[in-house]
């Protein structure tokens, strides 16, 4: 899958911007604050209906304006070509469009254009609390499995309804006994489906992770992961549902006291290890960086193997803090990606040229060897360099 044309209006510091992207590698350089990250964030909006830098839609609107708009023309092997649009205005909120027809739910968009983002923020995946890891996992699975996203949204709704009942109960079980039952069953069924899917994905994912960590670190330390959920072991979904129901019974008193749902996939944890060492607790700065990169590269591999269309890869300021040698290792790791890639970097780095060369570097996007280099300054984009290598 690739984006051919991207249009932004009133998107952060971009007043009116249009770029025609190369099918292979697109390099975007410019000083800090020039608006280069905003370009790839706009692409992210068209894939996932939101920003990848955690910020609300209202902050995306350019100063002094009342709305923003993003539009992209996409081309893939399954859906030949289509247009995705995103309109947001302060009064009317956000609306997503595919070929000019509005999507009823934003979630209908997810998975249409698979995307992987790598940014310095990825450090949070191994360093911060379980929320980061759960949302990484949810976003990864949602893009390959529509049913999972639906289960997730429904589970969240059931949990909200259930929490409201627990609040209404005022600590008295008798008040809600009959009403809670209908929500418990749904919570358990949907929760079990989510847990099953997560467990299955993590099993496949672990192998990709081991491979990618070796690639980026060059070391033989073995990364592993452990999935902590409501049970250690279970048979099929029906059995897991029953376990879930029993767990709900066990925590009933505490749930009435705390007035919220205390067991379920919303409290899952994924623990990452490097040769038996809990990386969140004991990992060095360098290990955190390499591990989080390996996580994203593993996501890329999952998509490459499991989807009909290659994902779009967005690299935000990834090399800023890396030395030359590490940079080259990463570039080599990315070289295997044959889909469209966007890279932002603070002004001209020594490796820029390398990315376009025929050796290792040029691989990023080698599936199609056409490259483009854009420079950005104060929300204005210029095409600096273009290469259409039809011959290769």
């Amino acid at each position: 899958m690739r984006i051919e044309r991207l249009t932004l209006r009133n998107f952060r510091n971009h007043g009116e911007t249009e770029i025609v992207a190369a099918p292979g590698l697109n390099l975007i350089t410019g000083p800090n604050g020039s608006g280069k990250t905003n370009l790839i964030d706009a692409i992210h909006y068209l894939c996932m209906s939101r920003s990848f830098v955690m910020s609300g839609d209202q902050y995306v609107v350019k100063n002094g304006e009342s709305y923003f708009m993003v539009e992209g023309d996409f081309r893939g092997s399954i859906r030949a070509s289509f247009t995705v649009g995103c309109n947001y205005s302060r009064g009317q909120g956000k609306k997503m469009f595919v070929n000019d027809s509005p999507l009823e739910k934003l979630s209908d968009l997810i998975g249409r254009v698979p995307v992987v983002v790598m940014s310095p923020e990825d450090l949070k995946l191994t360093r911060d609390g379980p929320v980061e890891r759960r949302s990484f996992l949810d976003s990864m699975i949602s893009q390959v499995d529509q049913r999972y996203l639906r289960d997730l949204l429904e589970y969240r709704q059931v949990r909200r309804q259930r929490n409201k009942l627990l609040q209404d109960a005022g600590g008295r079980w008798s008040v809600i006994r009959d009403s809670l039952e209908v929500w418990d069953r749904q919570l358990a069924e949907r929760g079990a489906a989510i847990i099953q899917t997560r467990a299955a994905m993590l099993e496949r994912f672990a192998e990709y992770l081991a491979t990618e960590y070796r690639t980026v670190s060059g070391l033989m330390l073995k990364p592993t992961l452990r999935y902590r959920t409501i049970a250690e072991e279970w048979g099929d979904a029906a059995e897991l549902t029953e376990i879930f129901m029993r767990r709900l019974e066990e925590v009933r008193e505490r749930e009435l006291e705390r007035e919220q749902t205390l067991v379920g996939p919303h409290r899952d944890e994924i623990v990452f290890y490097l040769d038996d060492m809990d990386i969140r607790k004991y990992g060095s700065q360098g290990q955190h960086r390499l591990f989080s990169m390996a996580l994203k590269l593993a996501q890329l591999s999952v998509y490459t193997d499991e989807l009909d269309d290659l994902p779009i890869l967005l690299l935000d300021d990834l090399f800023g803090n890396l030395d030359q040698q590490k940079t080259e290792t990463i570039v080599k790791a990315l070289a295997r990606h044959r889909g469209q890639t966007f890279i932002t970097a603070a002004s001209e780095q020594p490796y820029d040229e390398g990315l376009f060369r025929g050796d290792g570097g040029a691989g990023a996007g080698s599936g199609s060897s056409a490259h483009r280099w854009f420079t950005v300054s104060e929300g204005k984009v210029h095409l600096k360099f273009t290469e259409e290598n039809h011959g290769i």
Partner: protein, 228 residues
């Protein structure tokens, strides 16, 4: 600002309350109406008044109607031993359009939603149980025989045909968390009555409101309803 017509201002005020109507479009509508011929505007006003004056809820099924009981409930050709339970009266129209269902309806008036403070008692669930219970009185010991009930031709149009014992309750609720919870709840309460509880199959995309489904899909879903 000085207004030259308070009536216009009032009309705009009222029109703004229509769903999806901002002040600007309300203003456009009011001005448009003002320029129309008298009869046209009076006809519209009358239609609105009649809508409120003559439309009532059917005391049996809860759908909207101008005669109580509603034409579906009094139609002797409908199998009143099969009841289809829906959330809103709009759903009755949608299902009628499919021509797949020949039973009668029961409109709940919503679905269970603690977040919106709607509990089972706020819906017409007790009325449903009453309908089932009364219809099955006097069945004890007897074998349920599907008796053809033919009302005499010329019977008062507004009187209910004889009630056959209700043997099947079809749940046609929205396939969302709230519809699902409501279905569980009703199914549980119906257990003692020994009626067959079925639900329309999900040929319907999850999370989609019945309103948004095309007739073909809804018709298929109906034809393939399954046991609860």
């Amino acid at each position: 600002m000085q207004m030259t017509s308070e009536a216009l201002e009032r009309a705009i005020e009222e029109l703004t309350r229509l769903p999806g109507t901002g002040r600007k479009s309300a203003q456009r509508m009011a001005v448009f109406l003002l320029k129309q011929k008298d009869e046209k505007v009076f006809a519209l006003a009358d239609a609105l008044v009649q809508l409120k004056k003559s439309v009532v809820r059917c005391s049996s099924c809860g759908t909207i109607t101008e005669q109580d009981p509603c034409p579906i409930c009094v139609n002797p050709k409908r199998q009143n031993g099969v009841i289809c339970v829906v959330e809103e009266f709009q759903d009755v129209y949608l299902i009628e359009k499919t021509n797949e269902f020949s039973g009668v309806y029961h409109v709940l008036g919503g679905s269970i939603s603690p977040l919106e403070n709607v509990g089972p008692d706020d819906l017409r669930i007790r009325e449903l149980l009453e309908r089932v219970r009364i219809s099955r009185e006097g069945m004890k010991g007897e074998n349920t025989v599907e008796t053809e009930v033919e009302t005499e031709v010329g019977a008062a149009a507004h009187s209910m045909p004889d009630q056959t014992p209700i043997t099947e309750v079809v749940l046609a609720l929205n396939p969302d968390a709230e519809g699902e919870a409501t279905a569980y709840y009703i199914n549980k309460l119906l257990q003692p009555y020994n009626v067959k509880v079925t639900r329309i199959a999900y040929g319907i995309p999850m999370g989609t409101e019945l309103e948004y489904i095309d007739e073909a899909t809804l018709g298929r879903a109906f034809a393939s309803r399954t046991a609860f």
